[in-house]
């Protein structure tokens, strides 16, 4: 499987926090509850399904998942 990278678009994120709930390893929330990718957004092996789950449940379509 190719490597995945995630990025939260800060202009779109409204802090629903669905990603944090579905993939806590991949996202962190700031003091306002808005989401950011952990580190540089590289998805560790084994967490690919969670990355896609977070992407497909974000109401604002704020999460980009790219395959490297």
């Amino acid at each position: 499987m190719s490597k995945l990278k995630i990025r939260v678009d800060q202009d779109k994120c409204q802090g629903h926090a669905r990603c944090k709930s579905l993939a806590p390893e991949l996202f962190e929330l700031d003091e306002y509850g808005n989401a950011h990718e952990v580190g540089d957004g590289t998805v560790p092996a084994g967490l690919e399904d969670k990355a896609w789950l977070a992407q497909t449940n974000c109401p604002e379509i704020a999460i980009e998942v790219t395959e490297e």
């Binding site: 409204q14 926090a17 709930s21 306002y32 509850g33 497909t56």
Partner: protein
């Protein structure tokens, strides 16, 4: 403002016969079962219009709802309830009634107290509240789950956050009923609810100024608004008004609908009892299928939504619940699929007005369903009782009679 009775006389609502051109979200048919109506409206057009409520549109598709929610240029939030009247705007409730650019600073003040981490700290108290409530009726073998359980959880949780007595919850419930239900058709009820609530909170505000604590009221008094100035009392009162109005019967409704579904769907109930880890996913599906909250906007400038022209001066009934039943967005939209994997539901809104209390609501729902299923795993609707639903802007069961084993 005139004090004559005619000033507050509001028209009767004749029964609806043509939903597509004359919809009315306060009609008893809608209150009882809105889902087939939304299907009819959606089949007719992405945006429908009624002359009622002094002119009001309703977007019927997820796409149309989203376009309006994202468009703060043509659609204002200064009125967030579709009513028979449009009196001068007096009691604001920032940030829900704010538009850009005032919206963002007003919202940022409220966000930190409602993050998921903050909710984790509140969770043990909510779990205790749930069990205290269950203790009161579990020996009876029956209860009205709306009146005895779901109604009290959000009120007590908010009271706890605000540092005010949890027993004052009954007052809050009365004001909310006056503002959200009776107030659609009766201006006096609305104003009397707002006045009493404002007086109550003003007293707490003054008290916190003398003895600040770490409760939410004290936090708001310490918060800095735009320009680094403290928030005005009027702003703090408005935000407290919002927390109460928006934070109580909404979650009461979502919780009630969830228990209603589980009471009448043994397969789902048994699965959640056996697989409690699925509860968060199931809750997202209950939020989608039984979204309680319909918002409103006011059209400020003429524009086009999903190809349909909309004209200034009209209100918009912004039905997130109808959007969440749109089959173009959700396969099997009318089925409750408790393990639905992809669920971009809009129960908490879309765009800048995303519900500030969504993390609180989710935590309350999760804890309340977990605790109920632990102690009352087997329950059903009472065939001798009647389930009734609230009218208007927030939909959920107001009577929910259920039976269960006395040894539960």
């Amino acid at each position: 403002m005139s004090d004559s009775p005619s000033a507050t006389y509001l028209p009767e609502h004749p029964p609806v016969t043509d939903w597509v051109h004359d919809f009315d979200h306060t009609d008893p048919v809608w209150t009882d079962d809105p889902f087939p109506i939304w299907e009819t409206l959606r089949a007719a057009s992405p945006v429908v219009h009624t002359e009622r409520f002094l002119g009001c549109y309703m977007p019927t598709t997820y796409q149309a709802v989203k376009e309006i929610a994202y468009d703060t240029e043509h659609f204002s939030s200064r009125r967030v309830i579709v009513r028979d009247v449009r009196p001068e705007i007096s009691a604001r409730a920032p940030p829900i009634t704010s538009d850009p650019p005032e919206h963002k600073p007003a919202k940022q003040v409220l966000l930190p107290p409602f993050t998921p981490d903050a909710m984790k700290r509140l969770e043990p108290r909510v779990r205790a509240i749930c069990n205290e409530l269950i203790d009161e009726f579990i020996a009876d073998g029956h209860c009205d789950a709306a009146a005895r359980y779901t109604k009290h959880i959000p009120v007590r949780a908010i009271a706890h956050m605000l540092g005010i007595p949890e027993k004052d919850g009954d007052l809050f419930i009365k004001w909310i009923h006056q503002i959200l239900e009776l107030g659609i058709k009766d201006e006096n009820e609305m104003m009397s609810g707002v006045r009493e609530m404002t007086g109550y909170f003003m007293a707490h505000l003054e008290q916190r100024k003398l003895e600040p604590g770490d409760d939410l009221i004290s936090q708001l008094l310490r918060a800095k608004g735009p320009g680094g100035q403290p928030l005005t009392d009027e702003h703090v009162l408005g935000s407290l008004r919002l927390l109460l109005i928006a934070g109580i019967d909404t979650t009461w409704s979502a919780l009630g609908s969830s228990l209603w579904h589980l009471a009448k769907t043994p397969a789902d109930r048994e699965r959640l009892v056996a697989e409690p880890a699925l509860i968060p996913t199931a809750i997202e599906e209950f939020l989608r299928a039984y979204s309680p909250v319909t918002m409103a906007r006011e059209v400020m400038k003429e524009t086009t939504i999903s190809g349909c022209p909309v004209k200034a001066g009209n209100m918009v009934l912004l039905s997130f619940p109808a959007a969440n039943r749109d089959p173009a967005m959700f396969p099997d939209a009318d089925k409750v699929v408790i393990d639905r994997k992809e669920n971009r539901h809009a129960a908490f809104g879309l765009g800048i007005h995303r519900c500030v209390g969504s993390n609180l609501a989710r935590m309350e729902m999760q804890v309340a369903i977990e605790e109920w299923l632990k102690r009352i795993p087997d329950f059903r609707l009472d065939p001798a009782g009647k389930v009734t639903w609230s009218e208007g802007t927030v939909r959920g069961p107001r009577q929910l009679p259920v039976l269960f084993s006395k040894n539960a």
